[in-house]
Symmetry: C2
Subunit: 112 residues, 2 copies
C-alpha cells in the first residue's frame, strides 16, 4: 500500500465514494454509532488478555442481559468483534482489522 498521495486529506475527502462503498461503510459505521456498543467495543478491546466475558460486560451497564447480547450480536455481525464459547462462559475479542478500516477512512495518510 502506501499510495504516494499528496496527503491532502482523509480518503473520504479525497475522492467521492461510490454508492456501493458508501452503503457498505454505512452499515459498518451504524454498528459503532451507539453509545452502548462503543463502550462494549472499548471494554472488550482494553480488557486484560484481549478478551472479555459477557458476564463482565453485562455488569457494567444498567441494561438487561438480552439487550447486551443484542448489541454484541450487532458488533459481531459487523465483523468488529469475534466471540467464542469456552465452557460456561462466552468470550469476545475485537477484530483489529475491521477497526482499522474505520480509522483509515477518516485519517489523513501519514505516509512516512
Amino acid at each position: 500500500m502506501t499510495a504516494t498521495t499528496g496527503a491532502c486529506c482523509a480518503p473520504i475527502a479525497r475522492e467521492p465514494l461510490t454508492e456501493h462503498d458508501a452503503a457498505e461503510l454505512a452499515t459498518l459505521l451504524k454498528a459503532v454509532a451507539d453509545p452502548v456498543r462503543l463502550r462494549l467495543l472499548s471494554m472488550i478491546g482494553s480488557h486484560a488478555g484481549g478478551e472479555a466475558c459477557v458476564c463482565d460486560l453485562t455488569d457494567a451497564f444498567d441494561l438487561t442481559a438480552p439487550t447486551i447480547s443484542h448489541h454484541l450480536k450487532v458488533l459481531r455481525t459487523a465483523g468488529l468483534i469475534d466471540g467464542e464459547r469456552r465452557g460456561t462462559w462466552v468470550y469476545y475479542r475485537v477484530v483489529p482489522e475491521t477497526v482499522s478500516r474505520l480509522g483509515a477512512l477518516f485519517t489523513p495518510l501519514v505516509t512516512v
Copy 2:
C-alpha cells in the same frame, strides 16, 4: 505503510470509554452512519476548491432537495461541514478537525 510499532491498538481499544465520551462520540458517528451523508461528505471534501454548492450535490442523488437539505443539516450540526451563502447559492466545505477526530478514535497510534 503506517508504522505499527509500539502502539498496541486504537484509542478505543486502549482504555474503556466513559459513558459521557461514548455518548458524545456516538452522536458524531451517527452523523456519518448513513450512506447518503457519507457520500455527501465525500463529495464536498473532494470537490474542486474544497467546497461544493448544494445544487451540485442534489443532482447526484435520486432524492428530493428537502431530503438533501436535511442530511446537510445533520452533518453541519455534528460539526463535520460548514455552510455559507454567497449570493444565490449555498456552499459547504468539510471541517477537517472533526473528521480527524473520528479517524483518531479507530487508528492505532502512528509512532512518528
